[in-house]
Symmetry: C2
Subunit: 400 residues, 2 copies
């Protein structure tokens, strides 16, 4: 395998990838896994992939697992990239696509981070971890931990999607609900890490979740025949997916597979938009967002540890950051279901609302190839839809 070390993107410090390392020991920034990209460039060929299993492990040169026997899999698939013909036409796009991460095990893109994160934890001999989460990440890490025989301690806001509680509990994780936000869960987790010497699986406090998330980038590029689309819109809470996609682009450029980048767009909810605010002010970091609250619960992150990396990805790709209202999120969620049969999560729907806004503003052109990243299935958010129905008795007839 080709992983060589962990590196701090802020101060450049280097750490050993064969030990459990969390944040940079010098400046407390998140660490990134580094690979011998020159060697990969010599040996990697996209044609080879035809003969590999059709899931994220096909990009093994760019993944940190050194012994394949440590791979913990729940049947990850290459998620579909769907052309939205009906919806796109209605909005005025000629080439609008949706990457549907709802088809991952557990129904969300969090499985990618968990698959690689738990596999690497197993490789490093980790026995237990603690994780603050808005729900889906905790559920994903809990199910993969069950398979691996690693002990999971999950802390989530009491308002997190109900189903994610059940996933954690069913898979044998120890579950805590906090009367607050993910930032409060994070504080409790930090105390537990100190007290019990557990691995800290908080967003970006362990370096391998991002390696799983970056496979979304590899898949999108491969699904376009190893060409890049013009724009990718991503619903941004902690932002790991966006950081991961940007990392995949850098690695694919470095290894000679691509030579241009899509413009990356960070999409947030109007009532929790710290990254958008920082972008609009030209800042490199964000400020804690007070009184955060949105129907897109998964992106309710008042201050992301990796905010500077998200902003870098946006700036360096000539992207942008844009916020949308809760009303728009629910409206576009309904439109996608009615026009495309796609029942997606509110976070994913936020990218549809944002894409339309950017099209109307002229930032996106109608002929551009645009990818909406839907991070999860609407099945996990049953309460965002109210079903109208007629109640019948067995002897009734229906009237159209």
């Amino acid at each position: 395998m080709y992983i060589t070390h962990l590196e701090c993107p802020k101060c450049g410090s280097v750490f050993n990838h064969s030990e459990v390392v969390q944040l940079c020991k010098k400046c407390s920034a998140p660490l990134l896994a580094r690979y011998d990209l020159k060697k990969i460039k010599k040996r990697f060929c996209t044609k080879k992939l035809k003969y590999r299993s059709y899931n994220l492990w096909r990009y093994k040169e760019f993944l940190p697992i050194e012994n394949e026997k440590n791979i913990v899999s729940l049947g990850e698939v290459v998620t579909p990239l769907l052309k939205l013909k009906n919806f796109g036409k209605r909005l005025g796009f000629k080439r609008l696509y949706l990457k549907d991460e709802g088809l991952n095990p557990g129904g969300s893109f969090k499985s990618r981070g968990a698959a690689v994160g738990i596999s690497k934890a197993k490789e490093l001999g980790v026995k237990g971890f603690v994780m603050p989460t808005n729900g889906n990440a905790g559920a994903a890490w809990a199910i993969y931990a069950a398979k691996a025989g690693i002990k999971a301690n999950i802390i989530m806001p009491k308002d997190a999607p109900l189903i994610t509680r059940n996933e954690c509990a069913a898979s044998g994780a120890k579950l805590y609900l906090v009367n607050g936000l993910i930032s409060d869960a994070g504080k409790i987790a930090a105390k537990a890490v100190k007290k019990y010497a557990l691995m800290d699986a908080s967003t970006l406090k362990e370096p391998y979740r991002i390696e799983g998330k970056k496979t979304m980038g590899f898949e999108i590029i491969e699904q376009f025949g190893w060409k890049v689309p013009d724009v990718i819109l991503y619903p941004t809470g902690g932002g790991v997916g966006l950081i991961g996609i940007y990392k995949s682009l850098l690695e694919l450029r470095e290894t000679g597979v691509i030579d241009t980048f899509p413009r990356l767009v960070a999409v947030q909810a109007q009532n929790c938009a710290p990254i958008v605010k920082a972008y609009e002010n030209g800042e490199k970091e964000s400020v804690f967002w007070e009184n955060a609250k949105t129907v897109a619960f998964g992106i309710t992150v008042p201050k992301a540890l990796g905010d500077f990396l998200v902003l870098e990805a946006v700036y360096k790709t000539n992207g942008t950051a844009v916020s949308v209202s809760d009303e728009a999120i629910l409206e576009y969620q309904a439109l996608l279901a009615k026009n495309e049969g796609l029942f997606i999560c509110p976070e994913g729907a936020a990218t549809a609302a944002a894409a339309h806004k950017l099209l109307k503003e002229g930032w996106i052109k109608e002929y551009e190839k645009v990818v909406l990243l839907n991070t999860g299935s609407g099945l996990k958010y049953p309460d965002t839809i109210q079903a109208n129905f007629s109640l019948l008795s067995p002897d009734d007839e229906i009237n159209l």
Copy 2:
């Protein structure tokens, strides 16, 4: 393409596949699609599949769509076949597998029937249909119909899983809830079909749903390297999946791909087991089951139209039919989550309970290759798990 006609498996009558045909016009039995298998045998080669898209459409020679532009897709994937190492070891199996249909669009195996059924309906110019359902099939047909622009009328028992209501409503279907069972919904649907000249999409009353379901059989055989496993256990309500898998085996044998069959097991719930009762009495058809009620709601089917085909599949493959209690279903559902990180539906869990029962009885040997067919994701059944948790305030600590 290779479809030649529709045939009645009871009286042998032949019908034109280029028209909308429902049941046999002579004896009212379900119709089966027939293909020119001799021609397929000459031209089909499993090696060809390497270059095809990784979803059910890769078996296009065996599917009824004549023009690929009619394919309606929501991003179907080849669902994973997972080896259950932890759970298998615990129960005493050496080679226990689970085919996880929860990764289909909409979270259930019903998508396969809907993908092929709606595509063929589009090809035939169908504008609208009515369907009685236990929830998941209606949801699947509603989302594919939305994509195709076909009008869906869905009738389900009011006790069907709540989320399936939302999927129907979100995708623009007209939704009716009946204060009764699927058999009551079926009667209402039959009246609507007559009154409004709608297509009847009831189980086996249209011949193409089964063509989609049979791709589970193709996938399982391909995933074992074009070899057959020893046993496949299937949760049986209407039984279309089992009929479909048996049909796939017959077609693969006829085209020279396989020469032996797995033993097919129809699994039912103790409180709704008409097929098991018929099997135990050596009958060819089942009798309506009074007061049917089980936690595995999807298989609450008191009398299946295709019961004779299910029983034929079981008899001809030296299979069996077995029922399990609701307590066992919930117990094995929990065991699978804790040991394998798989949060599956109660129907799927029934096959795990049945497999263990058959192992203990000696009907299955410990070294045999056994496949559990999980028909859907546990995400659609949030109430089958009760989550235990501790409630914390932001200033609290956790104690392990």
